[in-house]
Amino acid sequence: MEGQGVTADPQLQQFIEVESQKQRFQQLVHQMTEVCWDKCMDKPGPKLDSRTETCFVNCVERFIDTSQFILNRLEQTQRGKVSLSESMSD
């Protein structure tokens, strides 16, 4: 099955799996920080005030909600349209 004839080192495989997951987490943190910065940050002050911090927390929650909502809705509408698109592609 292994195309390159490489024997997978289980230790390395697990390492890559864990690091990939960490990286997906970090990437989303980068992305959400950027998006929420535009939404929540006025003029950067001497400290992050609690109102702004709450905004960031809510922003993260709603961003994930939005992502899940879109995914669910697409899934639903796709399911409804399968028969339609099948007949249209003919």
Binding site: E19, H30, E34, M41, P44, P46, E61
Partner: protein, 96 residues
Amino acid sequence: MDSFGSDFSSVSSGSGKVDTGTIMEQVKVQIAVANAQELLQRMTDKCFKKCIGKPGGTLDNSEQKCIAMCMDRYMDAWNTVSRAYNSRLQRERARI
């Protein structure tokens, strides 16, 4: 980019077999560098937009102060987002 390949070939040369621990260490370092670059790039972009209204002849004192403050707040924001996302993941895992 070719330093990526040469880094690994230098590891494998000699013993003939690449040590897993060495690979993992190098990958970790490269990930850390990539993350620092990502943060630096986004931070520069955001703080430039916040602090430099009309680019003048120099980066004046008030602009430098603004950038310094902006950097600290960006790090605060990054950490807040990281914590919020982490607790969200924890909650979703507990629900399943």
